[in-house]
């Protein structure tokens, strides 16, 4: 019983035992003077511990010492708080908007540069075609195709007639092809007969590139 009282008396004295446990303890204290003496000893222990271990008069370390220690931590906390503010829903959407705008601007500038480069390349190609065309000795066939004609049809027509592309298309859609002189009239006739061709005529030279 002494063991049981040693585990229950401290809680009996601080009034945290369940009611059924209190009843058991009080019954044990009533029937035995030995248990009663043990209970007295626990009361003395409790009173002495409370007296001797109390926080009254306890001198903690100076507050300044702790405040100094948390100062760097305070800066750290500020950084954490700023980051937290940035990452709040409202701020995050604002930042996402700015980032998207920046991305669109960069892409726009890049597309502009690319467009200018492509235009330059096309101009050089056109000039090259014209210069190549002039290298052949005419006459040439100037051919214009009906709307909706596909590039593959044009190519197949040229290949079928033994024509070599030398220039175009011009602003009006004229292509210039070279056919050996002894075949050119027949080739022009066949072109005019093609369902894709709107007109075909002989010309002395290919216009210079502009």
């Amino acid at each position: 019983m002494k063991d049981d009282l040693d585990t229950t008396m401290p809680f009996y004295l601080n009034d945290t035992l369940r009611e059924d446990e209190r009843v058991v303890v009080e019954r044990e204290l009533a029937v035995s003077s030995e248990n009663s003496a043990l209970a007295d000893w626990h009361r003395v222990l409790r009173d002495e511990v409370r007296l001797r271990w109390s926080s009254h008069g306890m001198q903690p370390p100076p507050l300044d010492r702790v405040l100094r220690a948390i100062q760097p931590a305070s800066d750290h906390s500020s950084r954490v708080r700023i980051w937290s503010w940035i990452m709040t829903a409202g701020s995050a959407s604002r930042i996402a908007g700015v980032a998207a705008l920046l991305l669109i601007t960069v892409q726009g500038v890049w597309l502009g540069v690319m467009h200018r480069q492509i235009a330059g390349i096309e101009a050089r190609q056109s000039e090259y075609r014209s210069s190549v065309g002039n290298a052949e000795i005419g006459p040439f066939i100037r051919v214009n195709f009906r709307p909706g004609t596909k590039e593959i049809d044009i190519r197949m027509l040229f290949i079928g007639l033994g024509a070599t592309y030398v220039g175009g298309p011009s602003q009006l859609g004229d292509y210039y092809v070279f056919v050996p002189r002894d075949q050119i009239d027949r080739a022009a006739e066949q072109m005019r007969a093609s369902q894709y061709v709107a007109s075909a005529s002989l010309v002395a030279k290919v216009p210079a590139a502009r």
Binding site: F11, S54, L67
Partner: protein, 190 residues
């Protein structure tokens, strides 16, 4: 300071308010120091100021972790206990051999009813200090929580993160040892 006031101050601390932190410190620092000092082995009490400081630095850094499931004071003492154990682990090579908390072997304190009655009637103050110092850290902590914080069995178990039976076994082991020690110390001083 009421529990509500403490929680309000803690909420201000979470926003970086050092004045609120200072108010909490002035209220609770001596309580934390008493807890740390009386649960540490006596030869290590010189470290209690450092542990108190560490406890409050930790409070400043982790104040947002308070979930309100316990009283603020209990939560703060929980930090203090963690810091104390952390410090003891770092110093374990220098620690005196502590009583095993796992052992629940019965100790015959050899104290009959007359002796217990005699002990209860004696001025045991000085001797009690010596005898409490001979208990293990966990036994002293249990006695502190019961008599100074007024915790019940399940509260002590939750605070120390041990089963209820362990709390009882610590008391079952500690009380006879205290009586034996007190009897020997007081008889020697006769």
């Amino acid at each position: 300071m009421t529990e509500n006031e403490s929680r309000q101050l803690l909420a201000r601390v979470a926003k970086g308010d050092q004045n609120a932190f200072a108010r909490l410190y002035r209220t609770y620092a001596s309580i934390v120091k008493a807890f740390v000092m009386h649960t540490l082995p006596p030869s290590f009490r010189i470290a209690s100021d450092d542990i108190v400081s560490e406890t409050f630095i930790s409070l400043w850094r982790s104040c947002t972790k308070f979930e309100g499931r316990s009283q603020f004071r209990t939560w703060l003492l929980g930090i203090a206990r963690f810091k104390t154990l952390e410090w003891l682990r770092s110093e374990r090579n220098k620690l005196p051999l502590a009583d095993s908390d796992e052992s629940v072997d019965e100790i015959d304190d050899g104290a009959d009813a007359d002796t217990v009655r005699w002990l209860a009637s004696k001025e045991i103050g000085q001797a009690l200090d010596q005898c409490l110092a001979k208990l293990g850290v966990e036994q002293r902590t249990t006695i502190y929580l019961v008599h100074l914080e007024g915790m019940g069995p399940s509260e002590v178990a939750a605070f120390m993160n041990v089963p209820l039976d362990t709390v009882k076994s610590r008391l079952r082991l500690a009380m006879p040892r205290l009586r034996v020690c007190l009897k020997q110390t007081l008889e020697l001083s006769r």
